[in-house]
Amino acid sequence: MAILVVAEHDNENLKDATHKTVTAALAIGGDVDVLVAGKGVKDVAAEAAKIAGVRKVLACDHVSLKRQLAEAMQEVIVPLMDGYDAVLAPDTTTGKNFMPRIAAVLDVMQISSISGVESADTFVRPIYAGNAMATVKSSDAKKVITVRPTAFAAAAEGGSASVETIADPASPANSEFISEELSKSDRPELTAAKIVISGGRGMGSGENFAIIEKVADKLGAAVGASRAAVDAGYVPNDYQVGQTGKVVAPELYIAVGISGAIQHLAGMKDSKVIVAINKDEDAPIFQIADYGWVADLFNAVPELEAELAKAGY
């Protein structure tokens, strides 16, 4: 069995989601190659070659791939699939965008967002926002799979795969990139952070997120938010943790002023340790929190910050 993993990267750095997708590919079993498609991806390809268990890295360097738009990714991946039995990509917004195109062209029913590998054709995936886990078996000759990165450990470094440059793809003409407005932050990325602290509607305003940010700075944590806080306009939408936002599974998740709607829980309940700070002791978030602190967040969060300072953080 030969498996192609499509790397997640920004032309400069390889993203951790790639390592996790390689783990899922290795669990299926067989030869695992990594495709790095982008513009100026020499360094990213070299990084991918260091992932343990990877047979070879295919580098495709072309201006049409700079933003990894779906139509351009299709032009690269589909021709490669003659040589592979399965293609896997992380279920990030990039992977979710291009993978179903590959599946449709190959006449394959994609298996989205898997959280477990049972065998080479059987996978576990969350449905109904994680309220049920479906085990599905695919009868398609080739498999097209997106992988939920938080459900798999990152593959180790230490490999020394060869890097092969592949031919330029055809450039699709009917879509073009205009601009990108990415949130700038010195904090770690939400989906990759070891600690996440999120605020909900209880924060009351965007300015009040400052008290959360202070704790985040002490712990080197990423800052997130519930959909209620995003919809209220307190913070930008890319802060959103939940089924329709980002799915995170850090070592420590601190939920501040978040009641615990199902859609939020679906995005964070796989965190190792969950702390909830909320003044409503009946808030559903306490039913899944390892440590619950019933308190007014405007007193509790500064107190937590002071306590961390005292402990040398």
């Binding site: 195109r101 994680g130 599905v136 009917n174 959909r227």
Partner: protein, 248 residues
């Protein structure tokens, strides 16, 4: 332009999901079903385009059992012009849905197909992209904003790091995210009016599409539960606990 709006009938998002005790699936007997919330946003967008004069005809399409007609009626009450109901009692996977939609697109020749980014039942997030690929059309998924600009659309997309703006030529497929608009409630007069709007009755056979599933559901189980832990009284106790867990 002519706009096609696929809609799906799903378990209402407020209903608690119950896994059947034999693990064969989720219990959908006698529970409230509604239009997929993401599809409400695409219907709203199509209606707004009609009100703004950019859409000349808007067509809802739903694939499913007799009850799927209710979902089409809801979209007609929100303002779409007419419906197409493709009847089947089978569960239809996104790949087969995309093939049926392709057949409808070839018949109706819309300039734009706009649909929800995913359905909240199977959470696949595939249909729009698959349809675009089968048609050889461009796509703009997870739309946050959209503006027509001659023969193309400029679409702001919700991506992991923020907003990405792309331009796609018509005809195209757009899948919508939550913040594109706030869907309206249908007014009573519009609900009455919707009853007189036409719905074409079709079956999957009419389109010659093989809908046999590629995936077999082995089982559907409850997710691993978490149980409530302990309450802490103050910051010192919390920091102590987190230190002993080794997470800070």
């Amino acid at each position: 332009m002519k706009v096609l709006v696929p809609v799906k009938r799903v378990l209402d998002y407020n209903v608690k999901v119950r896994v059947k005790s034999d693990e064969s699936g989720v219990d959908l007997a006698n529970v409230k079903m509604s239009m997929n919330p993401f599809d409400e946003i695409s219907v709203e967008q199509a209606v707004r385009m009609q009100e703004a004069g950019t859409a000349t005809e808007t067509i809802a399409v739903s694939i499913g059992p007799d009850k799927a007609q209710e979902t089409i009626r809801t979209s007609l009450a929100m303002g779409l012009d007419r419906g197409i109901h493709v009847k089947t009692d089978e569960e239809v996977e996104p790949l087969a849905v995309a093939k049926i939609l392709k057949a409808i697109v070839e018949e109706e020749k819309p300039d734009l197909v706009i649909l929800g980014k995913q359905a909240i039942d199977d959470d696949s997030n595939q249909t729009g992209q698959m349809l675009a690929a089968l048609m050889g059309w461009p796509q703009a998924t997870f739309a946050y904003s959209m503006e027509q600009d001659g023969n193309s659309l400029t679409v702001g997309r919700e991506v992991d790091g923020g907003i990405q703006t792309i331009k796609v030529n018509l005809p195209t497929v757009i899948t919508v995210d939550l913040r594109l608009n706030e869907p309206r409630y249908a007014s009573l007069p519009n609900i009455m009016k919707a009853k007189r709007k036409p719905i074409d009755a079709k079956t999957t056979d009419d389109y010659g599409v093989d809908i046999s599933p590629r995936l077999t559901t082995v089982k559907v189980a409850e997710p691993a539960g978490r149980t409530a832990g302990v309450k802490v009284a103050d910051a010192a106790e919390l920091v102590g606990k987190l230190k002993s867990e080794g997470v800070i």
